[in-house]
């Protein structure tokens, strides 16, 4: 029983990790926590279902199109709203509150827009990417989709880590966040980089949406899962991509063990308790870089 719970926890953890990765990309490169990340995942799920059911696309094409559209959408939001906030109207540090409120506003808009469509009143489900009969290991069951989620999460993490550390764009993205002025001075197109980061994160949310919708089921409110993503990234340190995945897995497993040994009632509050605990004990998370000392 414990083994099964742990394995399921690992799978759920990877679900959280995918959302956390999307959050961390944005945070690493623009210092914003995207409270609408969950809604991005939700939108991607519905978009996928729309393309599949209504436009009759085949699965691979749907995946490509969804991810592309999500990329464009994220970049557009950064361009039209956030860029204006970061711009001259707010001092650099005072921008945090408005940015967070703007992403909260966006989450309302996305939720509201989806709710307008009558068929979303029902719980819906996207067909899984990896289908087929479940896999058995002794008396442990795993769905193919679950194994797929774990593999994709790990692959995305590795790709992003390599991308951030070894490619020019990745380095430029990091420089943009650490010191936008200096980055601009050495010729990095800061604005385009911010857009890139949002696009990338939204594209990733698109992948997550397609993978998670079969597992979490789609309702306009499924975006609430963002708090689990945030909890995962907090455990992971908010800046570490590897930490994110480990954080997600820790969270998923702890949730299930608490469900078994304490009470399923406590499952919902677990992520919040973990966020508090981690931030109080180790403000930089378990894998975070030390907080940068502001130069004075």
């Amino acid at each position: 029983m414990i083994l099964q719970a742990t394995l399921s926890g690992i799978v759920m953890g990877c679900v959280y990790a995918l959302i956390a990765l999307s959050l961390v990309i944005i945070y690493k490169s623009t210092d914003v926590v995207n409270f609408a990340a969950g809604e991005f995942v939700m939108i991607a799920g519905y978009l996928g279902l729309l393309l599949l059911d209504h436009f009759g696309l085949n699965y691979p094409l749907m995946v490509v199109l969804t991810v592309t559209l999500m990329f464009a959408f994220g970049a557009l939001f950064e361009r039209t709203a956030l860029n204006k906030i970061v711009g001259f109207k707010y001092a650099a540090e005072a921008a945090l509150v408005p940015m967070v409120v703007a992403t909260i506003g966006l989450s309302f808009m996305l939720k509201g827009a989806v709710r307008v469509i009558p068929s979303t009143e029902e719980v819906l489900r996207l067909p899984p990417l990896f289908s087929g009969p479940p896999v058995f290991f002794a008396n442990i069951v795993l769905q193919r989709q679950d194994i797929g989620i774990v593999i994709v999460a790990v692959l995305v993490m590795i790709a992003l880590t390599l991308g951030f550390n070894f490619t020019a764009i990745g380095k430029a993205l990091r420089a943009t966040s650490q010191n936008p002025r200096a980055a601009a001075l050495i010729g990095i197109p800061v604005k385009r980089m911010r857009m890139m980061a949002w696009g990338l994160a939204s594209g990733l949310a698109g992948i997550s949406g397609i993978l998670l919708s079969p597992k979490l089921l789609m309702t306009p409110d499924m975006g609430n899962v963002v708090m689990l993503g945030i909890a995962a990234s907090i455990v992971g340190g908010f800046t570490s991509l590897v930490g994110c995945v480990i954080g997600g897995i820790v969270l998923g497993v702890v949730q299930n063990l608490i469900g078994i040994f304490v009470s399923p009632q406590a499952i919902a509050v677990t992520p919040f308790f973990i966020i508090m605990l981690v931030l109080v004990m180790r403000p930089n998370g378990l894998f975070g870089e030390a907080m940068r000392l502001k130069k004075v």
Binding site: M1, P118, E121, V123, L257, P264, I267
Partner: protein, 408 residues
């Protein structure tokens, strides 16, 4: 912050307050008629439900369904010569909003009575005010356990059954028909789940069935592994679930995944708005081999009833197919119409409340009567059980009626 500006702010603030006060005063007349909302040819009813927000599915179609029945009554000449006029507002199922809407209806629009509400916690918040102001109130489709137990004079509810009625029906069915000996209960950790679990336990115990485990899960749970594993460990021979739509699907999936399909799974109605969509979401025929749900209406067994109401709905909504919970808007409107009729031409609020209290109404859409009494404010207590295998729905023999005895 410039403090010099702050005094200017305050002057401005004062002026604004004064203006708001004056405009508002001008439009008000504090006089209070004996029983507002009735004229010689009109009865004014304030109606509300979640028309926006997360719980929209429980509100929009039921409100439309109730509306269409009132329209139908108006077409036939109204009630004792009076047409029914409705004002409909959105309550978002939020306690604060519902109190606000109710107060608006009562003090601004001056309605005769209130009809609405789809969520238990929200209607509970308004109940005190309603009783204080002595306004007759019929719930739309809220189970409303907390608002009808203990009963209060002006609040009538549970027109499609309380959680107590669901749980009692299921437990009786489990014990008598399925001959269960060990029962597991999985419910949410909210007021719904609480009422459900308490009644299930009491009824099972009455029939000598041992309740081996009660799992309370949060409504927004995303991984059912832990509670379902615990249920499997407890080795029940019937599982009763009071879950909402999304968790209900997850429960059924895990139930099949963990190889528990030999154990009958009983799901309360709120979890399966549309059986076909539910089956599609579960996406595993094995999960529905032994699957039952409660239902408070006759429309599944009786095609004539189904077509009657669906066609009526379509005719009022430009041919739109009704959503999952449409039927749940029907009984309360039927009951209100019947009570208005019974109260006669000399309609007063007290007269209407008395008529509601005496109501004992059998009609085609429901398997049992809608009945109230001096000490009873929950309308429907009779359920049917439906067996659903993913394709066909079969009404199980007999009806299951809660005897009204409270669980302790």
């Amino acid at each position: 912050m410039s403090k010099r500006a702050s005094k200017r702010r305050f002057t401005a603030c004062a002026v604004t307050t004064a203006i708001v006060a004056l405009t508002a005063t001008a439009s008000m007349t504090p006089a209070r008629a004996e029983d507002p909302g009735i004229t010689d040819n009109e009865i004014l009813i304030g109606m509300f439900g979640p028309l926006s927000g997360p719980l929209i599915a429980y509100g929009i179609d039921p409100v439309q369904a109730a509306k269409m029945l009132y329209e139908e009554a108006n077409k036939k000449g109204g009630i004792h010569g009076r047409k029914i006029r409705l004002i409909v507002e959105d309550d978002k199922c939020s306690p604060n909003d519902i109190v606000s809407v109710v107060k608006k209806f009562v003090t601004i629009d001056k309605v005769f009575m209130l009809h609405g509400g789809s969520c238990t916690a929200a209607v509970s918040a308004a109940a005190d005010y309603i009783n204080r102001e002595k306004i007759p109130y019929a719930m739309l489709n809220a189970a409303g356990d907390n608002a009808v137990f203990p009963p209060t004079r002006y609040v009538f509810g549970s027109f499609q059954g309380t959680q107590r009625a669901y749980a009692a029906a299921f437990a009786t069915f489990g014990a008598q028909f399925l001959k269960a000996k060990r029962a597991a209960v999985i419910v949410h950790d909210d007021e719904y789940g609480k009422a459900n679990a308490a009644m299930a336990r009491a009824t099972f115990e009455k029939f000598g069935v041992e309740v081996v485990i009660i799992e309370r899960i949060p409504p927004n749970i995303s991984d059912l592994t832990a509670p379902m594993l615990k249920i499997r460990e407890a080795k029940p021979d019937v599982i009763l679930s009071g879950a909402y739509p999304a968790p209900a699907v997850l429960i059924a999936q895990k139930y099949a995944e963990f190889g528990m399909t030999a154990i009958p799974l009983l799901q309360a109605a709120q979890g399966i708005p549309t059986p076909s969509v539910f089956a599609k979401n579960v996406a595993n025929p094995e999960a529905l081999e032994n699957f039952y749900y409660t239902w408070a209406f006759n429309d599944i067994g009786d095609a004539a009833v189904r077509t009657k109401y669906i066609d009526l709905f379509k005719s009022y909504n430009n041919g739109r197919e009704p959503g999952p919970f449409m039927m749940s808007g029907i009984p309360s409107a039927v009951a209100v119409l019947a009570a208005l009729d019974a109260a006669g031409r000399d309609l007063t609020r007290e007269g209407f409340v008395n008529a509601m209290e005496k109501l004992n109404l059998k009609f085609d859409a429901m398997p049992g009567p809608l009945e109230f009494g001096p000490k009873r404010r929950d309308g429907a207590r009779t359920m049917v059980i439906i067996k659903y295998d993913g394709k066909t729905q079969k009404v199980m023999p007999g009806t299951y009626t809660w005897d009204g005895k409270e669980a302790n």
